[in-house]
């Protein structure tokens, strides 16, 4: 089954490129190769691997760079006519992306996606990749997601979002983020989030990279996403790899319309030079991963081992700021050697989860004996939990403060977004925050 990726804006295009790169290199000589290829690429008439992707940006430089870089690498490339760009950019203005560029180019963009979808024998779903801080990824991305929902009402649509550094990449990033999230929440089946701050931490503390570039950041994101989307076997797939990863993911994790935010962490993450000298055991990896989940630490460094799940019944909501991270649902993906001997009981502990889902329903497990991307054993946990509550709350809080003084609002109103639209978005997100906060 195939996934069609829609790459939006500079970030979306740069990250998606790394994803195709990782998936392609990982695909080379493994039993799941056919399924993996099928999932992300189609074969051209000359037998080359062509990514199942649509590239969209409102200015041309990033797409041009991406397309030529892929063509040069010789292992895979983008389709010649799979991209659409304009010249002037969206100026970091969500309203410009959503109200002007989106509608103006709707037909062209829909056509590009349609072509890609028709090339798939069986469509698993659509993956839209974008950032929330700028104007195109966020604004055009929200508009395109809406169009896709209209055109493909029964298809799985996942949005992968990159959240910006908390200390500014774009001054109006919080406005753009709030508007994007509020709109996507109604349209998307699940929202996978990576935060630049977290990934930056992984690069500096785990990978020991001295001068971190966006390329390093994007590679880590791609590694984590790749470890989720590469073929794996679920409990009832009977050795057949080509299941629908997007559908399985959504049904495992996003069972309630109010709870769609998914975070992920992968273990181990270390510099490539160290991998050869390290040995991994499943018990060790899983123990760390579990504690990372519980204490809401997104990497193996600085895990707080003091945090425990609350004992017994009579749990209260985490208003007092207890550091325990309650999960709604978890998906654990194990790849590599001896994967069938891995003991995952620790993740089925009901204490980890909210009371209204049994731990049997809340926990899902995928396995693949095929190792992923140089790591002999690796485990990825995709969670629907309170992990994103704090960054979300921070983002909304800052946006609200700025809104209180009406700063920059005239820039959005110029393109058709009113104060009411802002208020609606704030209200939706406060609702999401409240729901996650109440999780117990």
């Amino acid at each position: 089954m195939s996934v069609v990726t829609v790459q939006l804006g500079q970030c979306g295009n740069q990250v998606a490129h790394e994803l195709f790169d990782v998936v392609c290199s990982d695909t080379q000589k493994k039993p799941s190769r056919a399924a993996s290829c099928e999932r992300f690429f189609h074969h051209s008439t000359h037998g080359e691997l062509v990514a199942r992707a649509v590239l969209i940006d409102m200015e041309p430089k990033v797409i041009n760079q991406s397309v030529s870089r892929a063509a040069k690498c010789g292992r895979w490339r983008y389709g010649e006519d799979s991209h659409f760009s304009q010249k002037q950019g969206s100026g970091n203005n969500w309203a410009n992306g959503y109200c002007v560029h989106g509608p103006r180019h709707r037909d062209v963009m829909e056509e590009l996606v349609r072509r890609e979808v028709e090339r798939c024998d069986r469509l698993a779903g659509l993956l839209a990749m974008m950032s929330v801080a700028g104007g195109t990824g966020s604004g055009v991305g929200a508009y395109v997601t809406q169009c896709l929902r209209d055109v493909y009402p029964t298809t799985f649509i996942l949005n992968h979002l990159t959240w910006p550094y908390r200390t500014g990449e774009v001054i109006v990033q919080n406005y753009n983020s709030v508007l994007t999230l509020a709109h996507l929440y109604q349209l998307s089946d699940a929202i996978l989030v990576h935060e630049n701050d977290t990934v930056h931490g992984i690069c500096s503390q785990l990978l020991n990279i001295k001068h971190i570039s966006f390329s390093d950041i994007n590679k880590v994101i791609a590694h984590q996403l790749g470890s989720v989307l590469q073929p794996a076997l679920t409990a009832d797939s009977h050795g057949v790899y080509s299941r629908n990863p997007l559908g399985e993911l959504v049904s495992a994790l996003a069972c309630h319309p109010e709870y769609k935010l998914l975070s992920m962490c992968t273990i181990p993450q270390m510099p490539s030079s160290s991998i050869a000298y390290s040995t991994f055991s499943w018990p060790g990896l899983l123990k760390h991963l579990r504690q990372m989940l519980i204490s809401n630490t997104k990497m193996e460094e600085g895990i707080d081992w003091q945090v425990r799940p609350p004992a017994g019944s009579g749990r209260s909501t985490s208003l007092t700021g207890s550091s325990f991270n309650t999960s709604l649902a978890n998906l654990l993906i194990l790849r590599g050697k001896d994967v069938y001997s891995a003991e995952t009981g620790g993740f089925e502990d009901p204490a980890l989860y909210t009371s209204w889902l049994s731990s049997k329903e809340a926990f899902s497990l995928w396995k693949s004996p095929v190792s992923f991307n140089k790591y002999e054993k690796s485990a990825t946990l995709v969670s629907n939990s309170q992990a994103l509550l704090s960054p979300l709350d921070d983002m909304v809080g800052k946006a609200w403060n700025m809104f209180a003084s009406r700063a920059y609002i005239h820039q959005y109103m110029k393109y058709g977004i009113s104060e009411e639209d802002f208020l609606d978005s704030f209200t939706s997100l406060e609702q999401v925050i409240s729901s996650y906060r109440q999780l117990c």
Partner: protein, 434 residues
């Protein structure tokens, strides 16, 4: 003129194969040169840049504006309106996509100030959706044009109402920077030899040969423009184009005056660039000696700040420096993390990296207040007023409206300054019924 000179040099450096590539040619076709006396434009046409411009891009008259804003704005503004619109439309048609208008002028004279602001309103009328960024050269206190305060205040009103973004530049600051570089290059300390062609004022290696008096100062302004447009012309991991500048740096429509600073001013000849020097570049961007107007942003209030980095600088360097400098910079309460950043891979010629900082900061207030003072000194005595009132279409109300506009602008900045000391609590959040 220096701008085109240096832009050519920058692109030539990058593009070994030839001088004219796609991005470059689109850039050059789209200039319109206007002057009401012929001397300067003729010089350009006789110089080595004559190939770059053709006659349809030029508009000149013979006698100049006599340092009189009214003559520039009213007389020439109406006389040449059609021709100007025509030339602009032609230039616009050459563009695949018109992103923004750059207006470059001085405030103190008659043509740049008067006709320049007339063109500005014209742009707003004819091309309302296209961003207008204006680089205005403000006169120093010791300016030799007596009526420069009148011209400047009259022009300022137009800028406040019709420009999207203004980058004020003061001649005195440019002089100070030029002098600082000259001192550095003559000091000849061991280990501090300045690389050839690498100062922000150097034009050598550009097309024109000789350096004339204002050349060094104009080079700085040219570099400013080069850096602002670099992300639109070259690739980078975090692009920042001109529309984004206006979007991020202008929280309220009238408060669109941005203080700019360029670093480094020169590159020392030793090749390796330790992190310390890179960090020094960031620190310098906020020092009052590097600002292009006489102002000290660190002691006023930041509404927003943009950092455009060029060259071999990564996001981690950028983040480290923002974190380091942030505590010492006062930001307005609702924009505590008000940073806009851009990373362009191609550095300016002669440097391995450079930084342009654009700040929306209340430190422009003193500059405006001084201007108001100089204006008032003349206006109180009605000095030279008759030269203006004699011009057809000009009335006294223009003066009073202009000074009112300036007054209220200063007041708006003042209100913001007043919030600096106060601790503003967070706005109470919407509460959801549970």
């Amino acid at each position: 003129c220096r701008f085109w000179d240096l832009a050519l040099r920058e692109h030539a450096h990058v593009n070994k194969k030839g001088l004219y590539d796609e991005a470059l040619s689109s850039f050059f076709q789209n200039a319109v040169l206007v002057d009401m006396e012929e001397g300067v434009v003729n010089e350009i046409l006789q110089g080595p840049l004559r190939e770059v411009f053709d006659s349809t891009q030029l508009l000149t008259d013979v006698s100049g504006s006599g340092n009189n804003w009214a003559v520039g704005h009213m007389t020439y503004g109406s006389a040449y309106r059609e021709q100007i619109v025509d030339k602009l439309r032609k230039a616009a048609e050459h563009c695949d996509c018109l992103q923004c208008f750059f207006l470059i002028h001085s405030m103190g004279g008659g043509t740049g100030s008067g006709l320049g602001t007339s063109v500005l309103s014209l742009l707003e009328e004819e091309f309302p959706d296209v961003c207008r960024i204006v680089t205005s050269i403000y006169p120093s206190a010791e300016d030799d044009v007596i009526t420069s305060p009148y011209n400047s205040v009259l022009a300022m009103r137009e800028l406040t109402e019709h420009a999207d973004c203004v980058l004020p530049v003061e001649n005195q600051s440019l002089v100070d920077i030029v002098n600082k570089i000259k001192v550095m290059s003559h000091s000849a300390k061991p280990g501090s030899v300045i690389k050839r062609d690498s100062t922000v004022i150097s034009g050598q290696g550009g097309i024109s040969g000789s350096e004339k008096p204002f050349d060094a100062m104009n080079n700085i302004v040219a570099n400013l423009l080069l850096n602002i447009t670099s992300s639109a012309r070259f690739e980078g991991s975090l692009n920042m184009d001109l529309n984004e500048i206006a979007m991020n740096l202008v929280p309220f429509p009238r408060l669109h005056y941005l203080v700019s600073s360029l670093t480094p001013l020169y590159t020392l000849a030793d090749v390796s660039v330790p992190t310390r020097r890179l960090d020094q570049m960031f620190s310098d961007a906020f020092s009052k000696d590097h600002q292009l107007i006489r102002a000290d942003p660190k002691h006023s209030l930041y509404l927003a700040c943009a950092l455009m980095v060029r060259g071999n600088v990564q996001v981690s360097d950028l983040r480290r420096n923002i974190e380091r400098l942030r505590p010492s910079l006062p930001f307005v309460s609702w924009n505590q993390e008000g940073w806009k950043t851009g990373l362009c891979s191609v550095p300016p010629v002669g440097h391995s990296h450079s930084l342009l900082a654009l700040a929306n900061n209340t430190c422009v207030k003193p500059t405006f207040m001084e201007l108001r003072e100089r204006f008032t000194k003349l206006y109180r005595k009605k000095a030279h007023l008759h030269h203006y009132l004699h011009v057809e279409g000009m009335e006294q109300s223009f003066f009073s409206e202009a000074i009112n506009s300036l007054n209220s602008l200063i007041e708006e900045y003042h209100q913001l300054d007043a919030t600096k000391a106060r601790l503003i609590p967070d706005a109470p959040r919407l509460s959801i019924a549970t």
